[in-house]
Amino acid sequence: MGDAGRKHCSSARFKPKMPAMLAIHGLTKSFLSPDGHRMVVVDVAAFSLGAGEQLALRGESGRGKTTFLHLIAGILAADSGFIHVDGVDMASLSEPKRDRLRAGKIGYIFQTFNLLQGHTVLENVLLGMSFGPGADRGHARAVLERLGLGDRLNHFPRQLSTGQQQRVAVARALANRPKLVLADEPTGNLDRRNATESLALIRETCREVGAALLLVSHDEATLSQFSQVRDFVEINQAQQGAVA
């Protein structure tokens, strides 16, 4: 993002006032629609999440929640604004540096798990680590054992139940000892019992490693387990379909 794109913060470089694991200011993201109009999908004036804090964002599908998480993770580049992750402005980094920051400090749990089907359970976790601080086989084993997958290390994802696949995804997200865990509808593909267990596991494991957790979901049962829940529409000022 160039300086011209930071029109919302032209006065001075944004510095979060309080020590926060995640601090966002003036964040916008728009896409070009098929009919040629530019649609603003994310417009977040300010948002923060403290270290070790756990917050759930409520929002219906198509409201830009995933885009918001992608921006925080550096998977997408913002049009403007600042995203401080553990004190580093993600939005100002080049793509390779965003990749490195994501690999080192952010754990991402996808709704569809996104496991590598050709790799074993252990390899899925090790690969995630290898792009960050480095593959640590012992630690990867320990995390998987902690999540009850000690006897499934050499299984391939297709050989696991849906709940077990979810736990592999959690292990992969947490194995790097991230400072921030982003969870995008992590229980969306699970039945109620598995969803409850899985969510408890995610929250508990995040607590154990001291990671902040930002979860987005439209499922009230999931949201009800969080003490802190915010509506995404309150944070995101972009009106769906708005033309920039």
């Binding site: 995933t66 885009t67 994501r102 991402y108 996808f110 050709g118 390899e123 690969l127 792009f131």
Partner: protein, 401 residues
């Protein structure tokens, strides 16, 4: 380690296309190496095969035909020359050794060559090596119906010392033209890896006076194999026989004349090489097509890797490395194809000419070709790698919510 793990798993996941692609590369690499090695090694071996002689004197005609007939025991003789011509060159002060040969008979297609015992006693067919006999045999005596048999002929016919046979008239086998004379094998030559292994050697007089031969042949020989005292003598005799005379042909130097043969069939080498290059190109195309076709299936995996923190250049490198590994597998398979083809081709050459190609010979193409194959495969991998480089993680992994 990370890239290698990604590559290994990807190759396993697409094992069938990996094997098919590697096989096509192996075929290309094997063909290229075989064409190149056979071409260069046969050229070198043939031009070095002189049977220990510097020149051949024969009837007026083609030098190449003369050399092929007298040294390689191929082709028909261009004609005979008088015994007096043999005596003349033998007495020439520039000539160290002159060995007459007479051809015109065979046994079941194996050529019978009449010569003098000095061929075995005086001539080194390669420097430091004279013809030697398998234990239990001896060289023939002049004027007797005796034969010394080349190792390959003996092996093919199952002949031993004491075997007897009737020669057949002509260079090609015709069972209607069996001679009356009965010859006895008195010795088997040790292998020489030269055309001599494919010959049945008999005393010169026998071939000259065989029943049914033209009586005039009794005072003629087919060619004279010549060793010179110095290289300059060759040019002198070349002038004497070829420029000033018009009855005889003096083929000198033997190696250079055989080289002319390769110059004449050079187009064939080029066609073979062209075919091999085309096969290599098609194989490289198959690497590209194979990886490119699998990109749709792998798009999600590559996006996941990117989401986990892999740089664009990492996924680019993984795809190129995968292509290079397929190239390496093809190169390894290429050696299998190469050795298989070399065994067949060298055996054919040995059967047809007696010249033996060295299977284990080192040649630059044996490392250049595999490396080029790997580089070509990696280059082919660049196009799908660019596609991998451009993958949009957000669009590939998750629907907007």
């Amino acid at each position: 380690m990370t890239i290698l793990l990604i590559v290994y798993r990807s190759l396993r996941q697409h094992a069938l296309s990996t094997i098919v692609t590697a096989c096509s590369l192996a075929l290309a690499a094997g063909l290229l190496m075989t064409v190149w090695v056979v071409k260069t090694q046969s050229q070198r071996t043939f031009t070095q095969t002189t049977a220990g002689f510097d020149a051949v004197l024969g009837a007026r005609g083609s030098k190449l035909q003369l050399v092929l007939n007298a040294i390689f025991h191929l082709e028909a003789s261009p004609g005979n020359l008088a015994w007096a011509d043999y005596e003349q060159i033998k007495q020439h002060p520039a000539v160290k050794t002159a060995i007459p040969i007479a051809v015109g008979d065979n046994f079941h297609g194996w050529r019978i060559v009449g010569t003098v015992p000095e061929l075995f006693s005086d001539v080194e067919y390669i420097p430091g090596e004279k013809y030697a006999l398998v234990a239990g045999g001896r060289f023939f005596e002049a004027g007797k119906n005796e034969a010394v048999v080349g190792s390959f002929v003996a092996q093919q016919l199952g002949w031993k010392v004491g075997t007897t046979f009737h020669p057949f008239h002509g260079l090609a086998f015709d069972e209607q033209h069996e001679h009356e004379e009965n010859y006895a094998v008195v010795g088997i030559l040790e292998p020489t890896n030269s055309p001599a292994d494919r010959v049945i050697w008999t005393p010169l007089e026998g071939v000259q006076t065989m029943s049914g031969h033209n009586p005039a042949a009794a005072t003629e020989v087919s060619a004279v194999l010549v060793q010179l005292r110095s290289p300059t003598a060759g040019f002198m005799l070349d002038l004497m026989y070829n420029k000033q005379g018009n009855r005889l042909t003096f083929a000198y130097p033997v190696g250079a004349i055989v080289g002319e043969l390769f110059a004449k069939i050079g187009w064939f080498d080029r066609v073979l090489a062209l075919v091999a290059y085309l096969v290599a190109l098609v194989a490289a195309g198959s690497v590209l097509a194979s990886i490119y076709a699998s990109m749709s299936a792998r798009r999600r995996d590559l996006a996941i890797l990117r989401a986990l923190g892999a740089h664009r250049r990492t996924v680019f490198g993984a795809v190129v490395t995968e292509a290079a590994v397929i190239g390496a597998l093809g190169a390894v398979g290429g050696f299998v194809v190469y050795y298989g083809l070399m065994v067949v081709v060298s055996n054919v050459i040995r059967v047809q000419t007696g010249v033996v190609l060295e299977l284990a010979a080192r040649h630059d193409v044996l490392w250049i070709c595999p490396l080029a194959m790997i580089a070509l495969a990696a280059l082919s991998g660049m196009i799908p790698a660019v596609k991998a480089y451009r993958i949009s993680v957000a669009e590939t992994l998750a629907p907007a919510s």
